[in-house]
């Protein structure tokens, strides 16, 4: 078996569909969307200019796997660096062991094209991809998760993840019905840390971020050891004005732009963790670390006004974690993993010391972007 990795071309669309069908057939109960053509080859309007698609094809032009390199500029230390997100690697090896080597071939091919790779998300340590990356010498870290319950009764009735037994479900229903749940959750969120009360900040949602975003980026970038480029041009690609799902929030103090956030407010239906809640999320943002509490407070208020039942956020940097705590968020279990290739890990080493996660700036805006929120 000789398999070559090739740049994607439309001539392979039928072969990709055939791969998708074989993956479906091979995994009983797999969510169909996981391997749909849509997911394997995103629609033209979802593709980013810096995405490169690669296929693993055998001698018969049968596609056995694929992956995407999403090239991005990052600010690392005191300079700009081009690195890439290792996106959606799929190998037929997951359904046919004869192709077990393909997953490794995809990874090595990606590393040969761009040694500075990162992965984000991946579903937790028990999943195959992070295990593979760890075996390949990647550094793997967990990006902390925080949540704030706005409507305790709705939360208690819908938090599928915590209602796994009939007894627990009945208990949660009882707490929701009697008001004890409301009292307990509100008390916990208030006592956990004193609430941040920003007085001087104002915020507004906009269709497109203001030009001052670029100045903010220039001011803030050096305040983080690692941060993906977040200037206006990048944000226009990540959060295009035409996409009405994104709430773009600008936060000002005495008229001066001090930060921004991208929020989502999604009505869920039968979600595997959050049931039928309206899920608010602070997906992305930027500010000087000292101003993170003001941005989080404004984001929380905006989502509360928009009717969110629960607000969630993943943040790697300690200033943003502290800001979330100060605004009444509680830490919860996280399955958002950040993996860095050996070469990128070396780049992120200063004086022989790995830059700790809490000095890097990663959130749901990185990697795939907030597609699952």
């Amino acid at each position: 078996m000789r398999i070559r990795i090739l740049p994607y071309s439309a001539a392979y669309d039928d072969a990709v569909r055939a791969l998708s069908a074989r993956l479906h057939a091979g995994i009983a109960g797999a969510p169909f969307s996981l391997f749909s053509m849509h997911d394997l080859l995103p629609k033209a309007d979802e593709r980013r200019p810096d995405d490169e698609f690669f296929l693993a094809a055998d001698e018969n032009q049968t596609v056995r796997g694929m992956y995407i390199l999403r090239h991005q500029d990052f600010w690392i230390g005191d300079r700009r660096a081009r690195i890439a997100y290792y996106k959606l690697p799929i190998s037929e090896g997951i359904v046919d062991r004869a192709y077990s080597p393909v997953g490794v071939q995809l990874l090595l091919d990606a590393l040969q094209r761009q040694p500075l790779l990162y992965g984000l998300g991946m579903g937790g340590y028990e999943e195959r991809l992070p295990q593979l990356l760890i075996a390949a010498g990647w550094r793997m870290l967990t990006v902390p998760f925080f949540f704030h319950v706005v409507h305790p009764a709705v939360f208690l009735r819908n938090i599928v993840h915590l209602r796994r037994s009939a007894l627990r479900a009945r208990l949660f229903d009882l707490l929701a019905a009697t008001g004890f749940g409301w009292l307990g959750i509100k008390t916990l969120q208030t006592l956990h840390r004193p609430l941040f009360r920003g007085a001087a900040e104002t915020s507004a949602t906009v269709d497109r971020f203001a030009e001052g975003i670029d100045d903010l980026w220039e001011t803030c970038k050096a305040r983080y050891a690692v941060c993906a480029l977040r200037n206006r041009a990048v944000l226009d690609v990540l959060y295009p004005a035409a996409n009405k799902r994104f709430m773009r929030l600008e936060v000002r103090r005495r008229g001066r732009l001090i930060g921004w956030a991208v929020l989502l407010n999604t009505q869920l239906s039968h979600h595997k963790y959050f049931g039928d809640m309206r899920l608010g999320s602070i997906a992305d943002g930027l500010a000087d670390p000292a101003d993170a509490p003001a941005v989080v407070a404004c984001a929380r208020q905006a989502l509360e006004r928009a009717g969110a039942d629960l607000i969630v956020s993943n943040q790697s940097h300690r200033a943003w974690q502290s800001a979330l705590r100060a605004c009444g968020f509680l830490p919860g279990p996280s399955n958002l993993l950040l993996g860095t290739s050996p070469e990128l890990t070396r780049l992120l080493r200063v004086n022989g010391r790995d830059v700790p996660l809490h000095e890097m700036y990663f959130n749901r805006g990185d990697g795939d972007g907030p597609i699952n929120l």
Partner: protein
């Protein structure tokens, strides 16, 4: 020690098999742990044991124990 004997030891370690279960004909379909993760572990151990670096296309040629021996020999590893 021959390449095959050293490979048998690696298979024991990576795929948790007994020495007498090893055969040159073993393929991924034959061993529970020879999935993509197992293959990665095998490649990493091969590189360390035989002091070689594999190219991506060599990785997919390693579809059986005997093919791995061939790849190693092609890279100049001697018995």
């Amino acid at each position: 020690m021959s390449i095959e004997e050293r490979l048998a030891i690696l298979f024991q370690k990576v795929f948790k098999i007994e020495r007498d279960e090893f055969s040159p004909h073993l393929q991924p379909e034959d061993l529970l742990l020879w999935d993509s993760l197992g293959h990665m572990n095998l490649v990493m151990d091969l590189e360390e044991t035989f002091d070689v670096r594999f190219e991506a296309d060599e990785i997919t040629q390693m579809t059986s124990a005997s093919r791995i021996v061939e790849v190693l020999k092609a890279k100049g590893v001697k018995d």
